[in-house]
């Protein structure tokens, strides 16, 4: 007799012949048989067709709308994939003049922000969120009368925006401001390039940001510029950079990349040679570099002697040699927002003849136009209570500057934010703008590159673009589209070749809309000759005082300057270097952490020495970082992020992602220091003080480890690295040895070949191209309806991402090398998961795919346990999808999985089936390249190639046959369909094993 709990004993159903369980079983059978007998109409379902049929919009068929990404100001071209009238996924426009076809994680994630239920719906009077809704006409009337009063009194009007590179919006701004006696448009960037603009004003006589052509740069020296992840136009730079990392075995060539930086950046991880250089040493190092280059150029020495005092003297000399050897195809970049440093960068580039080749000042960049000095002037004006009207659009100054910019002292503050933010909370009026996917817009990211955005969906929330709002206030009642078209008709169309043709403006505009952009000659910058007088060696270096550390503030790929702070996809994206999700943290090098007796997760106060501003953050011990700095990510600590409190599943032991009333991370922007110095992210000093408590950081680094323990390795063989790397010289000399020296014997075949033949879908991932940018991770999440699980579930190793970026360290802190490896289901031919599934829920397809059948899965999780690559994800819960608006971003072509079901990468089977269906419809065979999985589509570096491995002509088969090709954990003989191509450094080889 089974022991009974007191509760059971109290139940009335007890009798001698059966327990409560058997009673329930009988009841269950009863219900089951009743449903068998009484079946079986499903619930009544309506099918509601549209009133008007349309050729373009066939239900169930995706259509694509060309637009321009609004995730940041880089102006990448996107195609919005729309289904049934709403965008569900963004993809890069192949061959776009800026981005070339890829997209970054922030761009991929920005589609989710469209369906943010907290966005403003129409204008509001009073503080954001708490204010009262007002109709557009009432708001316009009231505001216009206020403006009229200001025009009478000659009051001071300021418009504060981010970079406005939309020519039509700039025209509207000019028209609006012209009505006031004292009006001014001020712009700044959360991630500022103000110093680069100012430096060119000094050296070239024009405030401009040159276009960087990394695809032409055979030698790159980067001083703390994270150009592959967050710097100015990362997608474009990644695409260009990796073009010269192409390793065609028939024509071997490779660029050389030096990175000198303080923190461990994603770009530093890619570098052929990377050294740790403190921010206060950059000026001296650059002066030294210029000294060497002057010597080689044989011109007047302005930096004489700097080389002798520069840090890393020998390295600097070598960098100078290599740069000089490829002059005309070299590039020097620096991330510091310091005019003196940027002048030296310009000087080095001038000496290297980069202008006109790797740097284009004629078709200059307009991706960042902000001027930090103007913000300092505005702060002064505000402090004097002399600003009568301040209109803020596209930036969040209350978050970026805090008390440094006393917004509340403006006579009237109008916020044009689309969703509640720190600034709109202070505003007297909120006049919301729409999401970029709902609005018309244009942009000119580079002179001559005119990009267009168009609505992909009717306004979900009532909003008006800045252009329309300002025009309305200036008395122009035209609709936004008409304003834009009028500008294009008047300004751009006359300059186009189409102008001479017979087709007319409409055809020109429609063509631009269709392509997403148009290239026009005739508007370019005209910089002057290089002004040598502007150059002087760097002088104002300040090493931190004793006991302090240099403070480095940096953006993360997902959050950037905080504009994506309400995007759960991007919060849950692990940082590609630290692998931490849902937080920012104070990074310290292992040595420094040891010296300060701090360990991972301990809470510290980071206090700036000059102002005493502080934030409280957990410590992250970051290898490869300079010992003298503490690095903190910007973009966190946004107000309102307590909305994520109930993000994860609700259950007994569940802990909230963020405490109620709290925020995610801490706002480090408040540490940037006084405004008159510009938006400096690396020139402050701070002390780090332990608070005594600690938290657990949601790091995914140790989740899903592939490491084979030594005692399980095949006898007589080393445990093989997951990531194989070599050097360019080795590859050139002995191409066959790259992978073969790691070859492992196969223990024999367990399975008989029963493959039908003809098609085996496979993938090749070139680790030499992959930068770890994580665009693919978010692309996969958007495509495959991967849920967000929340911080607590991430801590429990239950993140659901089908595709992860594994990070491997190699070498010590001084010569740290970091390798990234995208890891997803390897679609093994001899898949261990298939043989352990008791219900045949995972099994092999005739095309070599490892299929996962959700409706068969009963959730034993045997497959996940047996998977050597640890890529299977289990639905521990029905992850909340309560935000009905956000559910509009779900891909209707992929099942939303329920609790108790295993899932994993499917090689985007829905795209395979779509391509097959289209081919069959067109009566043709599938062609190589017809199928592009979401990860491949998103990759700016073109590191991922998908196709049929059995077709010898396919791109993937050619890559799989490369000498660099290997499979991870080959010793297990599971015959994965994903081939990795060994990473190649253009530099000296480091010996030593990979740490995990």
């Amino acid at each position: 007799m089974k022991e009974r709990t007191p509760n059971e004993l109290l139940l009335p159903f007890e009798d001698s012949s059966g327990s409560r369980r058997s009673f329930l079983k009988l009841v269950g059978f009863g219900i089951g048989s009743a449903s068998l007998a009484g079946c079986s109409r499903g619930p009544l379902q309506s099918a509601i067709p549209t009133l008007e049929a349309s050729r373009e919009f066939v239900p169930g068929r995706a259509y694509w709308i060309a637009s321009t990404c609004g995730g940041c100001d880089a102006g990448c071209g996107v195609l919005a994939k729309c289904r049934d009238g709403r965008p569900i996924k963004l993809e890069g426009i192949p061959g776009h003049p800026v981005s070339g076809g890829g997209l970054c994680p922030a761009g991929q994630g920005s589609v989710l922000s469209l369906y943010d239920s907290q966005r403003f719906d129409g204008p509001q009077r009073g503080a954001g969120g708490a204010g009262s809704s007002v109709s557009w006409s009432d708001a316009d009337r009231e505001l216009r009368s206020a403006f009229d009063a200001l025009k009478q009194s000659g009051g001071r009007v300021r418009l504060l925006t981010g970079t406005v590179n939309s020519p039509s919006t700039r025209a509207a701004i000019a028209r609006f401001l012209a009505g006031f006696a004292d009006a001014r448009h001020i712009s700044y960037d959360g991630l500022s390039s103000s110093a680069m603009l100012a430096a060119h004003e000094r050296t070239h006589g024009e405030r401009l940001l040159p276009r960087h052509h990394f695809e032409r740069a055979r030698t790159i020296a980067s001083f703390d510029a994270d150009f592959l992840s967050t710097w100015i136009s990362p997608v474009e730079f990644t695409a260009g950079y990796t073009q010269l990392r192409e390793l065609d075995m028939n024509a071997l060539r490779m660029s050389k990349h030096f990175q000198l930086e303080a923190r461990t950046s994603l770009t530093g991880c890619r570098a052929d040679e990377r050294v740790r250089l403190a921010p206060w040493e950059i000026g001296a190092a650059l002066s030294g570099l210029c000294d060497h280059l002057e010597g080689r150029a044989g011109i007047e020495r302005r930096c004489r002697g700097a080389a002798d005092t520069a840090p890393y003297r020998e390295l600097i000399a070598r960098i100078a040699d290599e740069l000089w050897a490829t002059r005309g195809e070299s590039l020097v970049v620096a991330g510091a927002n310091d005019v003196e440093i940027q002048v030296l960068v310009n000087y080095a580039n001038e000496l290297l003849q980069s202008y006109g080749t790797t740097l284009d000042t004629v078709h200059a960049s307009q991706q960042r136009l902000g001027d930090d000095r103007e913000v300092a002037e505005l702060a002064q004006e505000l402090a004097e209570d002399s600003v009568d009207l301040l209109i803020v659009n596209g930036v969040n100054p209350a978050y970026d500057f805090g008390a440094l910019l006393p917004l509340e002292r403006a006579g009237m503050l109008i916020s044009c934010a689309g969703a509640p933010d720190e600034t709109s909370a202070l505003a007297a009026w909120v006049v919301p703008e729409p999401h970029f996917l709902e609005a018309w817009n244009d942009a000119e990211p580079y002179r001559g590159v005119h990009a267009l955005s168009q609505p992909t969906v009717p306004l979900l929330r009532s909003g008006r673009t800045l252009r329309e709002t300002l025009s309305r206030w200036a008395g122009d009642e035209r609709a936004d589209q008409d304003l834009l078209r009028a500008h294009w008709r008047a300004e751009l169309y006359p300059r186009s070749p189409a102008h001479a043709g017979p087709s007319g403006f409409d055809a020109f505009f429609d063509q631009a809309l269709h392509e997403g952009f148009v290239l026009l000659e005739g508007d370019s910058s005209t910089p002057g000759a290089f002004a040598m007088d502007a150059v002087r060696p760097y002088s104002s270096a300040q090493a931190p005082v004793a006991g302090a550390l240099g403070l480095v503030l940096y953006p993360k790929a997902g959050m950037l300057d905080g504009r994506h702070g309400h995007n759960p996809w991007l919060h849950e994206l692990p940082d590609p270097v630290s692998k931490i999700a849902w937080d920012n943290y104070a990074c310290l090098s292992p040595t420094t952490a040891e010296r300060l007796e701090l360990s991972e997760g301990q809470l510290v106060s980071v206090v700036t020495t000059a102002e005493g501003a502080s934030v409280e953050l957990p410590v992250h011990v970051q290898r490869g970082q300079h010992d003298g700095v503490v690095a903190v990510a910007l973009g966190y600590g946004r107000t309102g992020t307590d909305r994520f409190t109930n993000l994860g599943p609700e259950w007994l032991q569940g802990r909230p992602t963020v405490e109620a009333g709290g925020v995610i991370g801490a706002n480090a922007a408040l540490l940037t220091g006084p405004l008159d110095a510009g938006r400096r992210c690396d020139a402050r000093q701070a002390t780090v003080i332990a608070t005594g408590s600690s938290v657990e950081l949601a790091s995914t680094q140790d989740h899903h480890s592939l490491t084979v323990p030594q005692h399980l390795a095949i006898e007589g063989h080393e445990v093989r690295d997951m990531v194989i790397s070599t050097t360019f010289d080795d590859l050139e000399a002995h191409p066959d040895d790259v992978v073969h020296e790691h070859a492992v014997p196969h223990a024999g075949e367990l399975w008989k070949e029963d493959h039908k033949g003809g098609t085996t879908w496979g993938m090749a991932i070139d680790l030499s191209r992959c930068t770890g940018c994580s665009g693919c991770v978010i692309g996969c999440q958007a495509e495959n309806n991967v849920p967000v699980v929340g911080r607590d579930e991430v801590l429990r190793h239950r993140e659901m991402s089908w595709l992860r970026i594994d990070r491997y360290y190699q070498g010590g802190d001084d010569e740290l090398r970091t390798l990234h490896q995208p890891m997803m289901c390897q679609q093994c031919d001899h898949a261990p998961c298939e043989s352990v599934c008791p219900v045949l829920a995972t099994l092999h397809s005739d095309e070599g795919l490892n299929q996962q059948v959700y409706n068969r899965c009963v959730g034993t999780r045997y497959c996940a346990n047996t998977c050597p690559y640890k890529v299977r994800r289990f639905n521990w819960f029905d992850y909340p999808r309560e935000d009905k608006l956000q559910n509009h971003s779900l891909n209707p072509d992929v099942t939303v999985r329920t609790r108790g079901v295993m899932e994993k990468c499917s090689f985007c089977i829905q795209r395979i089936q779509e391509a097959k269906a289209e081919a069959s419809r067109e009566g043709r065979k599938l062609r190589d390249g017809d199928i592009t999985p979401a990860c491949q589509q998103s990759c700016p570096a073109k590191a991922i190639v998908f196709g049929n491995l059995e077709d010898p002509e396919s791109a993937v088969a050619r890559l799989a046959a490369s000498q660099r090709s290997y499979s991870v954990l080959e010793e297990l003989n599971v015959q994965p369909s994903v081939r990795y191509l060994a990473h190649v450094y253009n530099g000296p080889r480091t010996k030593g094993s990979h740490g995990h």
Binding site: S40, G42, P49, L51, P59, L843, Q913, A917
Partner: protein
């Protein structure tokens, strides 16, 4: 074997028996909606349109060629014909004769079912647009597969599969009825029996991979 287990065994056997019997009766397994013939908001007759008038299926269900879903036609598709056809021809004829007898112009006759269509499109008695505009028609869905099944019409249309193979004699159905049971076994049987390439070898049949439909 305990008494309890015997009881459970007997119940199971009874259920099995019931299942066997169910083959010949109207009782079906859960999810099988064969024969489902719901009433629709407008008494649209497939017998008249597809049967008597012999209108091609894809004239209205044009999505079948290009999309996963065949689609239920928009009201504007109906209006292609019903702009002029407002009632049955014989009622129109009767009105004409009556008008001739009474010596007046024939009135426009609108059948009650088509009135519902015009209401949906937003047309008044004289078939002029109303100020309020229209509201889409809420048809009752007949064929409904579970959410984890992705059936694709366009592949089957591309293979010249007759619509009647799965949808049955639609031309004789006054009201639309689910003809086949649309079960997985029914799908797979056809896939097993049909060569992948028309006229191709029998063993190279249409895909029976799980991922052909489940993803």
């Amino acid at each position: 074997m305990t008494y309890r287990n015997t009881k459970i065994l007997i119940v199971c056997m009874l259920l099995l028996g019931a299942l066997v019997l169910a083959q010949d009766t109207d009782i079906r397994l859960p999810g099988n909606n064969q024969g489902y013939e719901p009433e629709q908001p407008i008494a649209f007759s497939h017998r008249l349109h597809a049967g008597e008038l012999n209108i091609d299926c894809q004239f209205c269900h044009y999505g079948a060629e290009s999309s996963r879903h065949a689609g239920i036609p928009s009201a504007s598709v109906c209006m292609n014909c019903h702009k002029t056809v407002t009632a049955k021809f014989d009622t129109v004829l009767i009105e004409r004769e009556l008008a001739e007898v009474e010596g007046r112009d024939p009135r426009r006759i609108i059948s009650p079912e088509l009135r519902k269509l015009y209401d949906a499109v937003g047309l008044d008695e004289n078939l002029q647009p109303t100020a309020e505009g229209g509201t889409p028609i809420e048809w009752v869905r007949v064929h409904n597969l579970p959410d984890f099944v992705y059936f694709d019409h366009r592949v089957h249309v591309a293979r010249d599969l007759a619509c009647e193979t799965c949808h049955g004699p639609v031309g004789s159905m006054e009201r639309m009825r689910q003809f086949a049971d649309l079960s997985m076994g029914w799908c797979v049987q056809c896939h097993r029996d049909t060569p992948a390439i028309p006229g191709g070898p029998a063993e190279d049949h249409a895909s029976t991979d799980c991922a052909a439909c489940h993803y």
